[in-house]
């Protein structure tokens, strides 16, 4: 069953064509990792998946429903069933960690704060931060903030979780704790699309690698295949440039 389908997605920002016709399908339980050089359009593609950006051409289908930017309620429904984890965490700075995780349940699912906070606490436990429940984002480290952001996304019990370079803004020492959480989510069988530069993670966790360059999908393959023997010229160049650092 396809959780998400992208057909013929094109997007330009002004004169710059960022996506030149993307087709992509995401199956339930699949873990997709999108990699490629900067400027390839990876983040834009991810943001189109939950309609943070609207495509100039092309169709986005989520859980069998076509997402039309003019049908606002449909789009909001789709977003509430997808989780999005940002590179810069984007926690609500005026709320405690607990409230950050609970607020979606209250505002979008219509729950009461008490119930929502109870559930939120469970998810904070899941990411190992129940003791920071009443701290504000300014009191948390980058890694902790990102884990709270993941808990916030999880609390909505999404069918699909999108990760936009979740560790790129972190100190190297803090990357591990976030990747560990993501790995445990993968082990639970969640459907995830991750844009990342963490090749170690990609190799060990992904079901499928999607390699993008210059607004197009150049190659898609199982990670073992992709990293051992990339088929395309561009992918080979890319893997070659990073292979030393991966080992």
């Amino acid at each position: 069953m396809n959780v998400l389908e992208l057909e013929g997605i094109r997007k330009s920002f002004g004169d710059l064509e960022v996506l030149k016709g993307i087709d992509l399908k995401v199956r339930k339980g699949e873990i997709l990792v999108i990699i490629g050089p900067s400027g390839a359009g990876k983040s834009t593609l991810l943001r189109i998946m939950n309609m943070l950006e609207t495509p100039d051409e092309g169709i986005v289908t989520f859980l069998g429903r076509r997402l039309d930017p003019n049908r606002k309620r449909l789009v909001r429904w789709a977003r509430s069933r997808m989780g999005f984890v940002f590179q810069h965490f984007n926690l609500f700075t005026h709320m405690t960690a607990l409230r950050n995780v609970a607020v979606g349940l209250v505002k979008v699912r219509g729950m009461g704060w008490k119930d929502a906070e109870r559930i939120a606490m469970e998810y904070l436990k899941k990411v190992g931060l129940e003791d920071k429940a009443y701290n504000y984002p300014s009191q948390l480290s980058g890694g902790q903030k990102q884990r709270v952001a993941i808990a916030r996304a999880l609390a909505m019990e999404p069918e699909l979780i999108l990760f936009d370079e979740p560790t790129s803004a972190l100190d190297p020492s803090l990357v591990g704790e976030v990747l560990d959480v993501m790995k445990s989510l993968a082990n639970e069988g969640r459907t995830m699309v991750v844009v990342t530069h963490e090749m170690g993670f990609a190799k060990s966790v992904a079901h499928r690698i999607v390699y993008m360059e210059d607004g197009e999908i150049i190659e898609e393959a199982h990670p073992d295949e992709f990293f051992a023997s990339p088929k395309s010229e561009e992918a080979r160049r890319f893997v070659g440039s990073i292979i030393d650092r991966m080992l």
Partner: protein, 240 residues
Amino acid sequence: MSKILAAAGVVALVAAMYAAISKVYPFNWNLVVRYYILFMKGLLITLKVSAVSLVISFFLGLIFALFRRSHFEFLQDLGSIYVWFFRNTPLLVIILLTYYGIGTVFQMNRFWASVIALSLFEGAYMTEILRSGMEAVDKGEIEAARSLGMSEFQIFTTVIFPQAIRISLPPLIGQMVSLIKDSSLASVIALEELTMMGRQVGTRTLASFESYLIVAVLYVTITSIISFSGRIIERRLSLP
């Protein structure tokens, strides 16, 4: 320690000036202190006008700030025109326009004419303060709220407004102080607020210096209390 010295220095300076002036202008406090009830009445009216205008101007500011941030060009233009007109016209003129102009058509009394004039005028400044506050909220947080599936209204009430208010609080308090001071201009349409009372007592007793000094001290006291309270509220609301 240095603050106490500075305060003592100021007090000494004021005392010296007072002594010097007294030699040329004999202060006659008795004449004026007798009218303390009038000063209190005036102060009450000043506070009333300011309080009502504050509330109305805040809502005007909120509405027009939202207009200026709206996707509809028409609302944007409306907001811009409002701010442009009232920030470029002197308050005195607006008061006269409201009372003698529109006020005659609608038979407005002095209090409401003053309130409307003051609210429209200060509302324009509130608009800009609130708008800046709203713009200052991190766009990333707005995207996160969107990604959770919140509606634009929910995003405003949950993410934008609470933060915008915190950010805007210092300039808002400043605006409150301005409002109280600006309300003194209502004396030109004979509203019996504090400044008007000062003028009446001053002319009745011919001790205008003493009278206006008292009025000034009262204004400074009120605005200082407000600024001080504002700082306390800021501290309470600030996030760790």
